[in-house]
């Protein structure tokens, strides 16, 4: 049972990290990155080859290159790869096209990437994927269960770090400019904003965060294959952002919790019905219907974006409650 809780906790934390990265792109800047899961995969594969060691050392699986680097270098390199890939994908798809067309191109990028990796066995072991990926913190010599909880704790710390980064970005003048790009591109340009640069910036930061979530995931489960990052996975994360409330970090975390919960608990509750494929199919159908229902009934999510009010230095020195009371009194 404890074992199950560690898995649950990990998936929820990883889901929250990934959803925050997507929220920066979609919720804040309005970039519809339908290739988002590709960045998760990029991080996972990067960490895999950076921990597996030289390909010749692994007799059963093929991959193009490998190293044996200690924690946390693979995670950091993964983030860099995610950022660079984000800029590259952004450069191709974010140019001179209307938003929905940009989104469509990204979807195509995602489909093709899955296809390429599956077809090319020598690159990352094709459809079978990579397995036996070494786990970090081996030198601590913890018991199996303690090790898992330790991993959860490390991930929780990373989650807090990502939260702080996201909070600083979204709460800053930069975040305001990103939301301006989301709200009205033409007006942002007319005020001197380099819109392309802003979008590429979110592609890079979001890509790095996505890659980090993939890097953590791959080391926890020890395997990674194309079936785990097909394009619907991106929509699982979109569902989390939409349901929770785009532009609201707490809401997005809640959404990720609910969506991951559905996936994990769903498999627990449903298996009596039929074949394992049916369970997966029903989950995706639920996800699709849920997205549509939320878009109709609660397009801003459970916890909508907060209205940002401004106080200058003098007034913030008052206790926060007092400021609120004043504001309420003014109506």
């Amino acid at each position: 049972m404890s074992y199950y809780f560690t898995v649950m906790a990990m998936y929820i934390l990883i889901g929250i990290i990934a959803a925050w990265g997507l929220n920066l792109q979609f919720g804040e800047t309005g970039v519809l990155n339908f290739a988002y899961v590709l960045f998760v995969a990029a991080g996972a594969y990067t960490t895999a080859v950076l921990t597996l060691g030289h390909p010749s050392a692994s007799g059963t699986q093929q991959y193009f290159w490998g190293a044996h680097l200690p924690f946390p270098i693979p995670w950091i390199v993964s983030m860099a790869v995610g950022a660079v890939l984000g800029v590259a994908v952004g450069l191709v798809s974010l140019r001179r096209l209307r938003g929905d067309y940009q989104a469509m191109v990204m979807l195509v990028v995602s489909l093709i990437a899955t296809y390429l990796v599956s077809a090319n066995v020598g690159f990352l072991n094709g459809e079978t994927g990579l397995a036996l990926i070494p786990q970090p913190f081996g030198n601590l010599h913890l018991s199996e269960l303690n090790y898992r909880w330790f991993f959860v704790a490390v991930t929780a710390v990373v989650t807090l770090l990502v939260f702080e980064v996201m909070r600083r970005i979204t709460g800053s003048p930069l975040g305001r400019v990103l939301r301006a790009v989301r709200e009205n591109e033409a007006a942002a340009v007319a005020l001197g904003t380099n819109v392309v640069k802003m979008r590429l910036l979110t592609m890079a930061v979001g890509g790095a965060v996505a890659a980090l979530s993939g890097a953590i995931e791959v080391q926890f489960i020890g395997a990674w294959a194309p079936a785990g990052w097909t394009y619907p996975e991106t929509f699982g994360l979109f569902a989390a952002v939409l349901v929770g409330g785009r532009g609201n970090l707490g809401g997005v975390a809640l959404g990720a919790f609910l969506v991951q919960g559905l996936f994990l608990e769903g498999t627990v509750l449903l298996p009596s019905i039929g074949n394992p494929d049916l369970v997966g199919a029903v989950q995706w159908i639920t996800m699709g219907v849920m997205i549509m229902l939320f878009m109709w009934f609660r397009p801003r999510g459970v916890l909508p974006e907060r209205r940002r009010r401004f106080t200058t230095e003098a007034r913030t020195r008052l206790p926060l409650l007092l400021v609120r009371a004043q504001r309420d009194a003014r109506g």
């Binding site: 980064v165 600083r168 970005i169 709460g171 800053s172 003048p173 930069l174 975040g175 305001r176 400019v177 939301r179 301006a180 709200e183 009205n184 033409a186 007006a187 942002a188 340009v189 007319a190 005020l191 001197g192 904003t193 380099n194 819109v195 910036l201 930061v205 974006e305 209205r307 940002r308 009010r309 401004f310 200058t312 230095e313």
Partner: protein, 268 residues
């Protein structure tokens, strides 16, 4: 109408023009929306760009603002070529445009709308943002105070925390003008700032524009409301079918037959 200081029209100023539109043409698949248009705007002056619907005024404005690239011709602002530059360069050089419709950031508050416009803020870069509140707080506070001053001048102080999308059409136009001012402009391009605005707000907008001029900001005003144009502008450029057909002060332009037949005669 309160007395607005309308400068007498004279010979165009001898100082170098702030904005120089030079032989600009725009063709959309065979149709010439703008045809060999040339005119100048001197620093600190107000020029009206008028003409019947479909005359090419809005396209001309988009070319000047950098949104549309002309088929031929040049636009120079403050000594720099704008045609070859990225669209956002115009604003960075001090040339800011407003929109006829839908120029606001709807789900940003009025205050946020204004703050977005501040050029080169601390905390607007990734590193600046990651440095945290302490790094940019003081400079933002200064901008917030400035924004409150501007909003106060436009009697919008109480709307500071409202979402721009929730305001009335006229209030949105005022917010846009306020926002443009936060961008520290040398010149504003105004696309029909009085269109669809009730009279008292229109008057407020007009007074604001007159005040801007006295602050030394040049204005290029595309407007249908000729009364306002006459009160505000020292010079007007009249366009019809994509070309400039007349230029001069309003009374002078009004008296010309070709202008009357192309434009004024057909209205009311």
């Amino acid at each position: 109408m309160t007395e607005i200081d309308r400068p007498t029209a004279g010979a165009p100023s001898r100082t170098a023009p702030l904005l120089a539109v030079d032989d600009v043409s725009v063709a959309f698949g065979g149709v010439r929306a703008v045809d060999h248009l040339s005119f100048d705007v001197a620093p600190g002056s107000i020029v009206g760009l008028i003409g019947p619907n479909g005359a090419g005024k809005s396209t001309a404005l988009k070319v000047i603002g950098g949104e549309v690239k002309p088929t031929s011709g040049r636009v120079r602002f403050d000594g720099a070529d704008l045609v070859g530059a990225a669209p956002y360069e115009a604003a960075r050089r001090g040339l800011v445009r407003t929109f006829q419709l839908g120029g606001e950031f709807a789900r940003l508050t009025v205050m946020e709308n204004l703050l977005v416009a501040v050029p080169g803020q601390k905390g607007e870069t990734l590193l600046g943002a990651l440095a945290g509140r302490r790094w940019w707080r003081a400079s933002q506070d200064a901008e917030v105070r400035k924004a409150r001053d501007i909003l106060g001048g436009l009697q919008l102080r109480d709307k500071e925390d409202a979402y721009a999308g929730d305001l009335s059409g006229g209030q949105r136009k005022l917010v846009e003008i306020a926002r443009a001012l936060m961008a520290r402009p040398k010149m504003l391009l105004l696309d029909e700032p009085m269109a669809g605005v009730n009279r008292s707000l229109a008057r407020r907008i007009e007074e604001t524009l007159a005040r801007l001029r006295s602050d030394g900001i040049a204005l290029l005003l595309v407007e249908h409301e000729l009364g306002s144009v006459e009160r505000l502008c020292e010079r007007v450029v009249v366009m019809a079918n994509g070309s400039k057909i007349a230029e001069g002060d309003m009374t002078e332009v009004r008296s010309r037959d070709d202008v009357l037949s192309a434009y004024l005669g057909r209205r009311k």
